[in-house]
Symmetry: C2
Subunit: 271 residues, 2 copies
């Protein structure tokens, strides 16, 4: 089974390294690439072909790992040159995934992502599409017949046979983690202004270090059950924040949080 | 050192139990209280006086643990009846703390809170006010001369000599944790609609279980450094969410997150 890479950044480098350690054939090209990329390619034992057209036509599995912006162009240009499978690892939107599917068809296209940290000793790979299960089976069968490298843990998961499901998960993850980020920024801006940031870190760590899923599920359930009381507390939060800073733009997330609980409260009242 | 409690719910019960186990004198009254409260009071070895006036005048340390709504009335009615210290554990707003201070003065009043879980085997107590340090020293000296109960861990922290600082920390904590809750509700409502909630829990747990402070600080720093790119990704998030549900009320937090990053981006641009 021959793997070819279009684009060679952190994702391609990490995947290549792991694939090589399992004994797979791995190819790419340095045609028109930067010195930095050439250096990265030369740092591992990968086959280098003259052009990406050659990489595409010789691959059983063609992997696109560039940027969300170039994903569609790469798929249109190289996706049809391979007889094998085309895997997109570009953090594309579900909409872009559908456009690629329309062009290449789910006979060849697999929606793919690394979830969590990109690391050569531990990797979580997610796939969706009609050929995802079959591809993962082929990988597993190959690996069974070969010595597994030490110190490498690769978890592989097929989400569904629908193109777009992996992209949807990736974007939901992004929406959540960015919301948390925005909230942290806003909360700690206020805490710093009050000179209480060190204490707030200490206090939040008392509860925020618990098991994520358990604590988050209990948060959701309690948010819904006690929405009225929580909404009233958020009215107090807002009064307090108005005193700290009159500018509404300094409390976008807090206003949204209050609005959110007002909605939860009203929805509960209607039941 | 005699402790008196006005109000007897979970907080008073837990604090009383711990104080009794250290050998302190602890008092309350069941005057005009519900059967449930009477039962709770009778379940531990606490001294029961005829009235809260008696509790107030006989206490060295008077603790108010009722509700944010009744905090001010309790402080006005009983705070002046004690010659000792008045500790408020009612999750009051910084504004209410200041009003109590105006009435009782920071010679007698200490802004107090339990941070994190209320449990009789582990408790984190936070105090602020001019008399906080002296009070905590007195407690520590008393405890040194007595056998400490096993299986009880009490962490005590004086935040500052300012009345209101503990209330501010409590409200910042509340603003943050409710923001996360709103975000979780919103994100998982969408994930459930898409039938991807189980997978999203799994994927978020890959990264959200890391040490809270380390990961959150790195989030804040990266949110500021990469605000332009993150804002662009959030524009994509919104396009996607618009396709899932046209109703703006279903994405209050996501809209706010986008607005927040737009602001971060513009602020960076101005520098």
């Amino acid at each position: 089974m021959k793997f070819g890479f279009i684009g060679f950044g952190e994702v391609s480098y990490t995947l290549s390294k792991i694939l090589l350690s399992y004994g797979f054939d791995v190819m790419t090209s340095i045609e028109g690439r930067s010195d930095k990329t050439k250096e990265l390619v030369n740092s591992i034992d990968i086959t280098v072909l003259d052009s990406f057209e050659d990489v595409s036509s010789e691959s059983d599995i063609l992997i696109s790992a560039n940027s969300p912006q170039s994903a569609l162009a790469v798929a249109l240009k190289y996706g049809s040159l391979t007889d094998g499978l085309f895997l997109d690892f570009n953090n594309i939107s579900p909409n872009t995934a559908k456009q690629i599917e329309n062009y290449i068809s789910d006979e060849h296209f697999i929606d793919s992502a690394i979830m969590g940290r990109v690391s050569s000793d531990k990797l979580n790979l997610y796939f969706s599409g009609r050929k995802a299960e079959e591809f993962v089976e082929r990988m597993r069968n190959y690996i069974k017949g070969h010595d597994a490298p030490e110190d490498v843990e690769v978890n592989i998961k097929v989400v569904s046979d629908e193109i777009g499901d992996v992209s949807k998960l990736k974007i939901l993850r992004s929406s959540y983690t960015k919301g948390v980020s925005a909230l942290l920024v806003e909360t700690f801006e206020t805490a710093e202004k009050l000179g209480l940031d060190d204490e707030l870190w200490e206090i939040l760590a008392l509860t925020e270090n618990r098991d994520f899923e358990t604590s988050s599920k209990s948060r959701i359930s309690s948010s819904k059950r006690k929405s009225k009381r929580k909404y009233e507390e958020l009215v107090e939060v807002m009064e307090f924040l108005d005193g700290v800073n009159k500018n509404r733009k300094s409390k976008i997330m807090a206003i949204a949080t209050k609005d959110k609980f007002e909605k939860l409260k009203n929805r509960k009242g209607r039941k």
